[in-house]
């Protein structure tokens, strides 16, 4: 039995638990045993909530025995990036400093919603400090490791989420994405990730980074699992000021709808530059599977990335200003130095970035009048080695860290929904972004589902376990 075949999908688990073929407790024990066996390699978990999980699983089994419907995720184990509040745990957000905060007294909204759908939380996951990271490395907890080659990065900042799902320790994990932190680990770890429209999913009781750019979303090993988790988490929430009041728009029932009428194009310009050959190959592979040859230029994407960079560093600095004053030596040094510099950006330049954001949004909305979906690379390269500082791209030596997100930042900058799909190249997988208009997650999920059914994209078994 391979490491992956030991873990069925979320939808298979839910079906088996609902029908009584498996108990939620059996599923939970299997997940806990896999975490025990493999997490010494992956370092994806920072907390395993075993007793809580067993208690919840027993409740689900009792409810099923009593004939009650426990929901579409009955007995499905999941884990969350450690910036989500988990009742009884301290929300460390990848930091040393936040470990001194009181324990959370209530779960994050998205955890409550997944558990209300029958899922079982098994733990909290490693991440880059305060989410200001594209690598998945962490000086306090050690790096999360890539399930296909543990000497490589998971990508970040939701590194543990990518590692845990890529390593098939859990079928579903949650993460956050400010500039690419769901899509980058999805790409490097060879799994599916959904960054929904800005405001679609509640961020209540999660530790923030950049309020105007923060999104939460799921990771999974299949599109159906991704959609099941997404659907279970939708809905208004007064505890998040940015959360939409739109009604729930379930995507799972629409996955198999024909995509023949959709107008799909490749994102041109900036999105066809700064690519290693494997990234270009993955994009070409997806385009060929869909029969797409049309290229649409996305104007000023490089400037959009720059504006996202400026907003990120200044809002991040604002968030952490007092911690920078009082405990500068307790930060990861590279992140501290970035945040300090963020506090020094003159205000008019930040205002210009927010004004440019509105201009750029209008350009993309205009493109979406004649296109339903854009295809773009998720990362310029496959997972680099842990600790790698530079890579050579188009003959130019560049720093790895800030350049991992060059293709994700111009998209999250204006809150567009994206599904990252894995192309299982050898020896390392790499992701491709499927980008839809605002509030049309269903389109990106339908195209991802079609690609998966064609065999063009899939989450490979963990090759490094």
């Amino acid at each position: 039995m391979t490491a992956a075949s030991a873990t069925p999908s979320a939808s298979e688990i839910a079906k088996a638990v609902t029908s009584g073929k498996l108990t939620a407790l059996e599923v939970t024990e299997t997940a806990l045993a896999r975490i025990e066996r493999y997490d010494g390699i992956l370092n994806s978990f920072t907390d395993v909530t075993a007793e809580r999980a067993r208690t919840r699983a027993r409740e689900i089994d009792s409810a099923i025995a009593a004939g009650r419907n426990v929901g579409p995720l009955a007995g499905v184990p999941f884990a969350v990036k450690n910036l989500f509040d988990v009742k009884g745990l301290t929300t460390r957000a990848g930091s040393r400093i936040n470990r001194d905060l009181p324990k959370a007294t209530r779960d994050a909204t998205l955890i409550e919603r997944l558990e209300a759908a029958g899922a079982v939380l098994v733990g909290a996951l490693n991440m880059g400090e305060y989410a200001y990271d594209f690598t998945g490395e962490n000086v306090h907890d050690g790096p999360s490791r890539n399930p296909h080659d543990p000497s490589r990065m998971t990508g970040g900042s939701s590194g543990g989420s990518g590692s845990a799902v890529g390593g098939a320790l859990v079928p579903i994990a949650l993460g956050s994405d400010t500039n690419g932190s769901i899509r980058v680990p999805s790409s490097f770890c060879g799994i599916f990730g959904l960054k929904p429209t800005y405001g679609r999913l509640s961020r209540a009781r999660s530790f923030p980074f950049v309020a105007s750019l923060d999104h939460l979303g799921p990771f999974a090993r299949s599109v159906r699992d991704l959609a099941l988790a997404y659907d279970a988490m939708q809905g208004p929430d007064a505890d998040d000021a940015a959360c939409t009041t739109r009604a729930v728009e379930p995507a799972a029932p629409r996955l198999a709808q024909n995509i023949g009428s959709l107008r799909i194009a490749l994102a041109g310009g900036w999105f066809q530059k700064n690519l290693f050959p494997e990234a270009a190959e993955a994009v070409a592979h997806v385009a060929k599977a869909l029969g797409v040859t049309k290229v649409v230029d996305v104007p000023e994407a490089e400037r959009a990335r720059a504006a996202a960079f400026v907003i990120t560093t200044t809002e991040g600095a604002s968030l952490h200003l007092d911690r920078l004053r009082k405990r500068p030596n307790d930060f990861e040094p590279a992140i501290r130095d970035r945040l300090i510099s963020g506090a020094m950006i003159p205000a008019p330049l930040v205002d210009r970035a927010q004004k440019f954001r509105r201009w750029y949004r209008a350009q993309l909305l205009e493109i979406f009048r004649s296109v339903d979906l854009l295809i773009a690379p998720a990362t310029p390269c496959v997972a680099p080695k842990l600790g790698q500082v530079n890579f050579v791209l188009d003959g130019v030596e560049m720093p790895v860290r800030p350049n991992i997100g060059v293709h994700t930042q111009p998209i999250s900058f204006i809150g567009l929904p994206v599904v990252a799909v894995p192309v299982p190249l050898e020896p390392m997988p790499i992701g491709v972004q499927l980008i839809a208009p605002p509030w049309r997650e269903d389109i990106a999920l339908r195209v991802a589902y079609t690609l998966e059914r064609m065999g063009a994209v899939s989450a490979p078994p963990p090759r490094g376990l």
């Binding site: 105007s212 560093t313 963020g342 210009r352 004004k355």
Partner: protein, 60 residues
């Protein structure tokens, strides 16, 4: 912009904000600030109409 000018600016803003910066951190803070200002200038040089509203509270 000279390194000296940026270092003076960093020292002044740090004093205004009450941010302690040890000598050993200064080169990294300056390098980060130079990158951020380069990014900010790329945005600033793009002409926008005076009427453009910022996306301060963003609705997609």
């Amino acid at each position: 912009m000279s390194a000296e000018l940026i270092d003076d600016y960093i020292a002044s803003v740090a004093a205004l904000l009450g941010l302690p910066i040890e000598d050993a951190w200064k080169p990294a803070v300056r390098a980060n600030l130079e990158v951020s200002l380069r990014m900010a200038r790329l945005v600033e040089e793009f002409p926008l109409p005076d009427e453009t509203e910022p996306a301060g509270v963003f609705i997609a």
